[in-house]
Symmetry: C2
Subunit: 187 residues, 2 copies
């Protein structure tokens, strides 16, 4: 008989995951998502982003009764007040949390129970770019290193295959590794 653990390995509802895949296979338009954020500047380096609704699975999502409010700031050495991490640190958080979701979901789909998962991310950045001091120095990360510690109930080759799959399908990893067309307009 199935146990609760088997139905939701890693806390993931595999039945819902299968239903989602089947629904998108039947109607590919359900896979179209559109995420949104609104940022308000608070003075200095500090700003606050509100994130609530999005379009996805063929409808406007209404599951969040309140917006998530996230802040950005800079440390004093970068002229801020340390109210929050800075924007490039937030990118590292986005990447790590994306990999965590991908590992948990795809492990569940493979029947692999994860005992623990820890992801370290580091990125190097040369401030010449942001400060406009050198045209040949990019403003963003010159490189990012990710170290994953995956403790799962599966042989090493299955863990390796899981990691390879997540590396191919992680949205934020793809956003970092490959160009995204970004348009900016002033309103």
């Amino acid at each position: 008989m199935s146990t609760t653990t088997e139905l939701t390995p890693n806390g993931v509802d595999v039945a819902q995951l299968v239903q989602t895949v089947e629904a998108i296979s039947a109607d590919p338009s359900l896979a179209a998502f559109r995420f949104r954020a609104r940022n308000t500047w608070l003075g200095g380096a500090r700003s606050r982003t509100a994130i609530q609704g999005f379009w996805g699975a063929g409808a406007e999502d209404t599951s969040r009764s309140e917006p998530f409010l996230l802040e950005g700031d800079e440390p004093p050495v970068l002229l801020g007040d340390n109210h929050a991490p800075n924007a490039v640190e937030i990118v590292l958080h986005a990447l790590a949390s994306c990999l965590a979701v991908g590992l948990a979901y795809n492990a569940a789909a493979r029947g692999i129970e994860l005992r623990a998962l820890e992801i370290d991310v580091e990125g190097e950045l040369d401030l010449h770019g942001f400060l406009g001091l050198a045209d040949d120095v990019r403003p963003g990360y010159s490189g990012v290193q990710v170290t994953c510690r995956v403790d799962g109930d599966a042989p090493d080759d299955q863990i390796a295959e899981l990691c390879d799959h997540v590396e191919r399908t992680s949205p934020v990893l793809d956003i970092l590794r490959h160009p995204v067309a970004v348009t900016l307009v002033r309103d």
Copy 2:
């Protein structure tokens, strides 16, 4: 006579900004920064990232006595529990907060007082990539649109030049628009 407002337009300490630029011009190695994050999986789609120290300006930064703790999760339609925004929404937050800092700092350097600044960001994503349902669909954003409302004490052409400069020098915009080399290892 200078007023406090003139010394810190937009809440930005311009004297410190000038000092930073001069220090890096004198010793380019001070521009090398290395940011870090550690993510711990909490079950399901939920994880928590700790961000505290970093290397920069020739030293390990010790200005933060406690780590920032940021969470990631998914909404129910993506099998999560809505404890936090998801990873690709966090990318939008990173982009918007980066542009806000860039606009505030560079406006201050130009002597432009900002009255208000609001930035909307939207991104489209096709779930076929993340779910591994189509090899020809990228997992990440197919496109991102940014709308900036900049209310500043300057003629429109100066605001336009400010925005163009920030578009060229924003670290997170660069990270999205151009490939970043990301290495993944298992430990």
